[in-house]
Subunit: 280 residues, 2 copies
């Protein structure tokens, strides 16, 4: 993944790393290791945001332990009890020196209704723009999207009202990120989201799998599962506007790619690519 | 409204004019007159996009007649039968010389699933960026939003799952536009949308009423009804992540303004203002 790492002399956007949830935290920890590396390895200064979780204190402490064990120089957990704290510069000053931010799993609606429109919410966006790495797992991955999947139904095929979208944190504008993807049978809801506006690109990330999006919009898959790309760009036809209740919808001409470890994807050209030959 | 009209020597974004539906088409036609004026009055060259309508041919012809009667120099109706035509440069070349684009009512999901990701969809965005005026009524107003209300339930108070959002055409990023607002009792669904991410600003436009958004993000209300602004910026608390099924949700600290003809609103500072003294 060396060639994915940008020139640190150039001031540019940081890496974005959505993870599909349930990533290995005890064995080789390929994904979390990769996150720490992108944040500077032994120089990494991390802020964990566990707000999505219903057990934020425990969840935050768990990730702090793991990142500490992986050798990060400093790990700070933002323990916010209420929305007003997210507007208090004192509470969030740890972000100033951070090299990376990690958003835990839980409920993406809790995370976004808590952070949206606050100083902390804006700070997460500006941190990415300033070159910091942003990682997130499960709810923390979904919330990265401009058009966020709030919740939805399971199933392989698209149906009306199968997916509820909400405005997310907007760290990526065109990509709708879904998680626990094959484990929870979510292709149908992602196709439904893309059918609503075929300009969108769906990315369904499996458990213990991540997508690393570099500052130039080049992506690479890391982990034991796959990332399913749903591209509506060449969609020929859908009847989504005419279908009633929860009935199945027709979708003609959606392009799907299933990418495993090392496979790459160019968000600018929407082209998938095989792994590099020198992949470890 | 003279002072809303921008300096034509400067190359800047155009006007955006969402209309709440059912605007007067036979009497004084205050709103449609205003739209033609913003497009250049007697020099106006208009393209009507009736794709949202289930009776696109008839709807398109009706608006062409009205705009012709109001003195526009040229009116062209884009009669697209299928999505592929929206990718054909020949079909949409009328947009090159246009000074304004008007999207009719109907179903915003039909409009966006038809245009999203096509050449025409991108051309509408770039036309606005190049300084052309974009108007739209009912579905054509909703579709302007980045976060578009696809459909939802009626009612004055917010409830879970009350609103379905979809990625819209993205002509305005932060504003969620709703229409037929007081006539169809839609405050609840707009508050639900804002509670999902309090960074958003809801704008509910009544029938026979429009919001004129100038290139500097200064807005003014035109017409016989009102525009209801729902600002989540100072939201203190919501339990939207915890509420189940279709139960009522709590929303604390949302700011609401109801603006009538001549009232103004600054999208940059989120401040409402009374009418100008020299208002006609």
């Amino acid at each position: 993944m060396d060639s994915l790492i940008a020139n640190p002399d150039l001031h540019q956007r940081g890496y974005l790393m959505p993870i599909g949830g349930a990533e290995d935290k005890t064995a080789r920890m390929v994904i979390l290791n990769q996150f720490v590396d992108l944040c500077g390895g032994k120089q990494a200064r991390l802020v964990v945001i566990p707000t999505a979780s219903a057990f934020a204190v425990e969840t935050g402490a768990r990730y702090c332990d793991v990142f500490g064990g992986l050798g990060a120089a400093n790990v700070h957990c933002l323990d916010l009890k209420e929305r007003q704290q997210a507007n208090n510069p004192k509470e969030i000053e740890a972000l100033e020196d951070a090299t990376g931010i990690f958003m835990t799993g839980g409920d993406q609606v809790k995370l976004v209704s808590f952070l949206g429109g606050t100083l902390l919410g804006r700070k997460i966006s500006s941190s990415l723009a300033q070159g910091k790495t942003i990682g997130g797992t499960s709810a923390g991955a979904s919330a990265m999207s401009q058009h966020m999947i709030a919740f939805g139904r399971s199933g392989a095929a698209p149906s009306q009202r199968m997916v509820h979208l909400a405005p997310g944190l907007g760290l990526t504008e065109r990509v709708i990120i879904d998680q626990h993807f094959r484990q929870r049978d979510r292709l149908g809801r992602l196709m439904t989201a893309v059918a609503l506006n075929p300009a969108m690109l769906g990315m369904g990330v499996d458990e213990d799998t991540a997508l690393v999006i570099n500052p130039d919009n080049q992506c690479e898959v890391v982990g034991s599962g796959s990332v399913t790309v749903v591209d509506g760009g060449d969609l020929q036809h859908t009847d989504i506007h005419a279908v009633k209740r929860h009935d199945p919808i027709a979708v003609l001409g959606v392009k799907v790619h299933v990418l495993t470890h090392g496979y790459r994807y160019d968000l600018n050209t929407r082209q998938p690519m095989p792994p590099r030959q020198n992949l470890l």
